[in-house]
Symmetry: C2
Amino acid sequence: MKKSLGAQTILYPAPVWVIGTYDQENKPNVMTASWAGICCSSPPCVSVSLRKATYTFGNITERKAFTVNIPSKKYVQEADYFGLASGKNVNKLSATALTPVKSSLVDAPYIEEFPLVIECKLLHTLEIGLHTLFVGEIIDVKSDEAIIGKNSMPDMEKLKTFLFSPGDRKYYKTGAYLAQAFSAGKEKKGTRNG
Amino acid sequence: MKKSLGAQTILYPAPVWVIGTYDQENKPNVMTASWAGICCSSPPCVSVSLRKATYTFGNITERKAFTVNIPSKKYVQEADYFGLASGKNVNKLSATALTPVKSSLVDAPYIEEFPLVIECKLLHTLEIGLHTLFVGEIIDVKSDEAIIGKNSMPDMEKLKTFLFSPGDRKYYKTGAYLAQAFSAGKEKKGTRNG
């Protein structure tokens, strides 16, 4: 018997992604978003939902571009701060001594110190309610060499990113390897379905 | 200097969520999706992107409802299998001896054994490319008592769910507590901005 928790955004895990944009005066801005995810394989796309009240909302609407910057856990304070302060009042990158880099592919900045960054062009805008969902087409993914694993892909154990737990508003580390996807279930399939 | 990995869906973490639906003959079906995330706070909504070729795509289009079932790591084999097999050919719940429960709120089944389930009504459909993004309004969240923490919310350390690493297609456990959100950055804010 399950307990009803009501109509709430209680799903796990949620990502902690820092969205990079330029404002009208070319000031780089960053904000943290967790209402987000990959949303299409071809073209490769990511969705990020933002409230209209955010500074980033206006920047994406104007510049039609954004970056997704994935922090390692050493930047948890910075990432949390990027969700607390507003670019209307402060230059958050200067305040944290992090370095904005102008993307050569899209009209948005990325954070040099973060290990993995994704450069996106705005493809769709969907009004939902308090949040508006932006779909960005992924133009490139850029990675620090230090987090690349055996198969030339980022290695979760080197990336050391973290995740957001919406119910109790806590950050958790990512953990150890569990199983190979598109493989672990084959045994079950074989056993049960012949 | 960062290394370009090209235009790929390489972002971390991605969730491992099992989508529950009914087909035209009321057969319950489940499939695993990782191109998904929370997408609005009010109304509370979740987005799930699916290929048209999936059995679940047709079910959601017909029945205008789905559930999101969040597995604990003990169900990693089942969750992986749900992404390998198709409901066109098999009853995946029977095959894994898991129990479908008819939701009393939406026209979809949830999995009794999974610790956390979310019942959704279809609100929007957005064509992107290979994937179509479905936005579901969250009507209720139902939780096993055993995973509820101190503040009446699910506790990540009791839920023991896992995540998907897209680059190398591996599942990873969720890890230990890192920091309190909307709090960890306050010190930085205070220090740097006065």
